[in-house]
């Protein structure tokens, strides 16, 4: 009983700062709108958004499920693809010279330019959206992976050479585990961008059917001046991004329990 209470307290202490910040911001926001600082069609008050959240629970949930699926699959694609590309670029100087500049350039491509092509290829389904999300999210993974693989202590590599390690073994025993923490940092950035990537994906590609994800929902609502509902949908996206981020932090503890010792631990 007592232990349980202690655990609850510790959790509360961890969550409390973010909770207070949210509370403060919402309070200021509410006052700003209520005191007539802005038309509520431009900025709905928090209580209106909360009402919309409550009233449109089913609609938002359906759209959330669609968006969540896109985000999860798109991110998976981005993480796996980005990591593999990072490894390939690290292992092959030719690929580094041949592909890396284009990977950088890919980040500057406005999605609207390629979305008709994506729809032409893959139709109205989920694939064009996954592609857009992956395109937006893979880059931080590539960069952090490439840099981390290159940052491995050259003395360490020399030592492995005296053990007659093959290129693959150097990668497997030293480079890969050494690069994991940084690659996961890249994944974190990708996660944070993933949700907005889904918004871009949904609004820039075509869809049929009544439900098309939260991004579509937001655009539709804004067009009919249902601003509060758009904000309600945005709130769901916000919460989802935070949840994704912390889910990865939890996964990280499983994936790299060894995480490098605290810097400065060496005497």
């Amino acid at each position: 009983m007592r232990r349980h209470l202690g655990y609850t307290l510790r959790c509360a202490r961890r969550v409390l700062p973010a909770f207070l910040v949210a509370l403060g911001a919402l309070g200021v926001w509410e006052l700003y709108v209520d005191l007539g600082g802005v038309n509520s069609a431009l900025l709905p008050a928090p209580h209106e958004i909360a009402t919309e959240l409550w009233r449109n629970g089913a609609l938002l949930w359906t759209n959330f499920a669609i968006t969540a699926e896109e985000v999860v699959l798109g991110l998976l694609l981005a993480l796996v693809g980005g990591f593999l590309l990072g490894v390939a670029i690290h292992l092959s100087p030719l690929l580094r010279r041949g592909i890396y500049p284009h990977a950088v350039g890919s980040q500057a491509v406005p999605i609207a330019v390629i979305s008709p092509l994506l729809v032409f290829w893959w139709g109205f389904g989920v694939f064009p959206k996954l592609f857009v999300i992956a395109l937006i999210c893979f880059f931080p993974v590539v960069v952090t992976t490439v840099d981390a693989l290159a940052a491995v202590d050259p003395e360490q590599l020399k030592l492995l050479r005296t053990f007659d390690a093959s290129r693959w073994q150097v990668f497997r025993f030293a480079e890969l585990p050494a690069a994991m923490p940084a690659a996961i940092s890249g994944a974190r950035i990708a996660l944070a961008v993933g949700v907005i990537g889904a918004y871009i994906a949904e609004t820039s590609t075509a869809t049929t059917g009544p439900y098309a994800g939260l991004g579509r929902e937001i655009v539709t609502d804004l067009n009919v001046l249902a601003t509060a509902r758009a904000y309600a949908a945005a709130t769901v996206l916000f919460a989802f991004a935070v949840a994704c981020f912390y889910a990865l932090t939890l996964a990280e503890r499983r994936l790299v329990p060894q995480t490098n010792p605290p810097r400065g631990a060496r005497p």
């Binding site: 003395e155 020399k158 005296t162 010792p261 005497p267």
Partner: protein, 265 residues
């Protein structure tokens, strides 16, 4: 005791070795090494100048010299990590114990020590078992599961040494293995290494800037000059083991080595 280790070391795998003493395990002949700065010949650095050294099978050769005299270069030549610019290096396969322990932070002590057998293709369990046996033998029992950052500097060097032993090479190249340790730990480590080498005799090239360490551990001490390194003197240390740093003979040899370094009182 030194003689004992030498007879106990027939060249591994060769049937019925000839009674004549075999070829030296390490033979460095008139070796020079120049680090060239491409395009700026005036900036190239001569690390070693016509260095000749030999170590017989089972012999411990210490190389002492001032900082920057090419000691690390010498070891990398012996380990085949570099090629000489002049002269010849003939040497049985050698394993390097670098100055820094370079233990992998994500592996525990025993898995770090077992790295070389793992790379040689041994299964994890078998490699662990081999490393574990050496841990027990060399006073590291109980530290198998510790991660490197949980170990003291001295313990980390011990694990690094076991890792070097397990590389299974007849020659060990130790690059200032205790250079980063405090004086008390270093003294402990020197006796530990002497004991470890008695249990696991190998040909050793020990690079150090500590003259006393050289005299305590080695059968022979080669003194190098400042850059470019040349062999200034070679002293035979024909003293019984274990040696104490306070032995008159050890002190006298230490003085001789210091004089050869140009540091005599």
């Amino acid at each position: 005791m030194a003689a004992g280790t030498q007879t106990a070391e027939p060249a591994a795998g060769t049937p019925a070795p000839a009674p004549v003493p075999g070829p030296p395990a390490v033979s460095v002949e008139a070796v020079s090494r120049i680090y060239a700065d491409s395009g700026r010949p005036d900036r190239s650095v001569r690390a070693l100048a016509e260095v000749s050294l030999r170590a017989g099978p089972g012999e411990v050769l210490a190389v002492v010299g001032p900082s920057g005299c090419g000691k690390t270069t010498l070891l990398e030549l012996i380990c085949g990590l570099q090629e000489p610019d002049g002269g010849a290096v003939r040497c049985a396969p050698a394993a390097l114990m670098p100055q820094r322990d370079l233990l992998l932070p994500w592996l525990n002590a025993v898995d770090n020590a077992a790295l070389a057998p793992r790379i040689a293709g041994m299964r994890r369990a078998a490699a662990r078992e081999r490393a574990g046996a050496l841990f027990a033998e060399l006073g590291l029992a109980g530290f198998e599961a510790a991660r490197p950052h949980e170990l003291s500097g001295g313990m980390r060097q011990r694990v690094a040494f076991v890792r070097t032993l397990l590389a299974g090479k007849p020659v060990l190249c130790l690059d200032e293995p205790f250079g980063a340790l405090d004086a008390i730990t270093r003294a402990e480590m020197q006796s530990w290494l002497a004991r470890a080498l008695r249990r696991e005799p190998r040909t050793v090239v020990l690079v150090t800037h500590d003259v006393e360490e050289a005299v305590l551990l080695a059968d022979r001490v080669a003194v190098l000059s400042p850059r470019p390194g040349r062999v200034r003197a070679e002293l035979a240390v024909e003293l019984p083991r274990p040696r104490a740093r306070t032995d008159a003979a050890v002190v006298a040899l230490r003085e001789r080595a210091l004089r050869a370094l140009g540091l005599g009182a």
